[in-house]
Amino acid sequence: MSNKPHHQLKLLPKWFRRFLFYLGLLLLAIPFIFPFWWMATSSFKTYKEIFAYPPALFPEEWHFENFITAFTYQPFAKQYFNSLYIALLVTVGVLIISSLSGYAFARIDFKGRNFFFILLLSSLMMPPEVTIIPNYLIMNKLGWTDTHLPLIVIPILGSGGVFTTFMMRQFFITIPKDMEDAAKIDGLGWWGIFWKIGLPLAKAPLAAVAIITFLNSWNSYLEPLIYLSDSSKYTLPLALTGYIDAYGAPMWSVQMAATTLSVLPVLIFFILAQQQVVESFAMSGVKG
């Protein structure tokens, strides 16, 4: 990008420069897009064709039976449902806890606020590996291993919800104070102010928290791996690793079919709500 090529580029006609620009971007996008393509097309291929040389961008014949095998080899429909309902419950729980707590840290001047805040802050970025050993022992004591309870309770109450609390706090800080003062004159207590003024303004950050939390739960792998052993209780990420034949080799085309089915709804949602999803992630990164 030094001076010289810059000027040489300028000699080319404008449409051609533009063409080169978009071509470059498309080439750069290959590693981002090709895996999706390869995943989807491989799920229609036979085992033989998957390793055929030269590699084929389209399956020679479209084999739908891989998708059927995905459902018969494991209770895939059940596993799908498990992921869905766990992610929904976690999302609802985190929305409640994070909006309440985020609101208090942003708006209410209570005793010990800074102390509690710094304490929570310390677990903001905590990876689950740090606390997984005691949490596993606690769950074991409670008889909750091989149930979905650890996958629901720990993400809501543990460090997962701390991050979203900070997102909510960062939003609630920006509400002008006079709105609260007016409400106080009208005789509203803190609950009323939170419920009638705070929350209705917070639709965007609540949506962001919901999107991030749902995806985190939907995608989590370490926790199901450690807590679950019965395959009918598996969630999707764990289920996807279970398409292994009797010799321990992955059944690639079936695995890719199941993976496609697990990725598709998220991708469709992302494409439909693209702006919202990207903003949610940007919010979590910058303001978290």
Binding site: S101, V130, V286
Partner: protein, 299 residues
């Protein structure tokens, strides 16, 4: 109203404590107590399966620092992973952001393309890549063969495994850093760029002299976020290489899991988790302080 009998500050205290109570109780049960427990366990010899344990003082730590044949390898690998990831991720994110932040045709489309791996589950993403990178006849090598190149064993040779893990991870997550940087670039005053152009600055000059310094706080923030995120790489390691080959991708978060749940040495695993905890805690407060500075800078 029943609250009328309380003074304003009493009301504030009551409401504040009630509002944070669910989260704080959860924090005590699933974060604070487990962390204290991990610290306590780190002074014990404790087995997951038998449940037998005894106090051994600092033995886990002396073993870790003086006798564990893997520990320094793990630390070295973790550093290589973190710094390799930051270098690749942040430079690619910055490049993409600089190309895509302007409102010209097609940019939203490309932003969507580069972001789509971010929303995809790590397991799905990693499974597809492990399929494409496997052995000598994986997809990538098949395509390389078409143009006459024999690709290496991406995941099963010690020279390439770490690079492959970093690459897969960068492509997965770079979109996140890209959108953070794009939102910072959009805040750069337009007049400054125009003024630079009038002064005859080349694209590279105004990027380097004007844009980069203006968004430097965000770049630093992105570096720290990526660094903290790089500690959390269990899924990638577990499903791409399981720490191999020849332990070349054995990193700290995976090593904690390995010691705890594969060899059942939860005493020693706890000592490793304490090390991980201290590193993350330090980085979190560093990030928090920088974020404050960054907010200050904005005003």
């Amino acid at each position: 109203m029943k609250h009328k009998s309380l003074s304003q500050s009493q009301q504030d205290n009551l409401a504040g404590h009630l509002f944070i109570a669910p989260q704080f109780i959860g924090f005590l049960l699933f974060v604070a107590i487990p962390i204290i427990t991990v610290i306590v366990f780190s002074f014990q010899d404790r087995n997951l399966l038998t449940g037998k344990w005894e106090w051994i003082g600092l033995d886990n730590y002396t073993f870790m620092f003086t006798r564990d044949p893997y520990f320094y390898k793990v630390i070295g690998n973790s550093l290589v992973f973190s710094f390799g990831l930051i270098a690749m991720n942040v430079s690619l994110a910055l490049f993409l952001a600089l190309v895509l932040y302007r409102n010209i045709q097609g940019m939203v489309f490309f932003r969507t393309l580069f972001f789509s791996p971010v929303v995809t589950s790590t397991v799905a993403w990693v499974l597809v890549w492990s399929f494409m990178l496997q052995g000598e006849q994986g997809t990538i090598n098949q395509f390389l063969k078409l143009v006459g190149v024999q690709g290496p064993k991406w995941l099963s040779s010690p020279e390439w495994a770490m690079f492959s893990v970093i690459f897969v991870r960068v492509i997965k997550n770079v979109g996140l850093n890209m959108v953070i940087l794009i939102s910072a670039l959009k805040d750069v005053p337009h007049e400054m760029i125009e003024a630079a152009k009038v002064d005859g600055a080349t694209t590279w000059q105004y990027i380097r002299k004007i844009i980069i310094p203006l968004i430097a706080p965000t770049i630093l923030l992105v570096v720290i976020i990526t660094l903290i995120g790089s500690m959390n790489v269990f899924d990638h390691i577990m499903l791409l290489t399981a720490g191999g080959p020849s332990n070349s991708t054995l990193v700290l978060s995976y090593y904690v899991y390995y010691q705890a749940f594969l060899t059942n040495e939860i005493g020693y695993a706890s000592a490793l988790a304490v090390v991980l905890f201290i590193v993350i805690l330090g980085l979190t407060f560093l990030q928090w302080n920088m974020r404050k500075k960054w907010v200050y800078y904005e005003q």
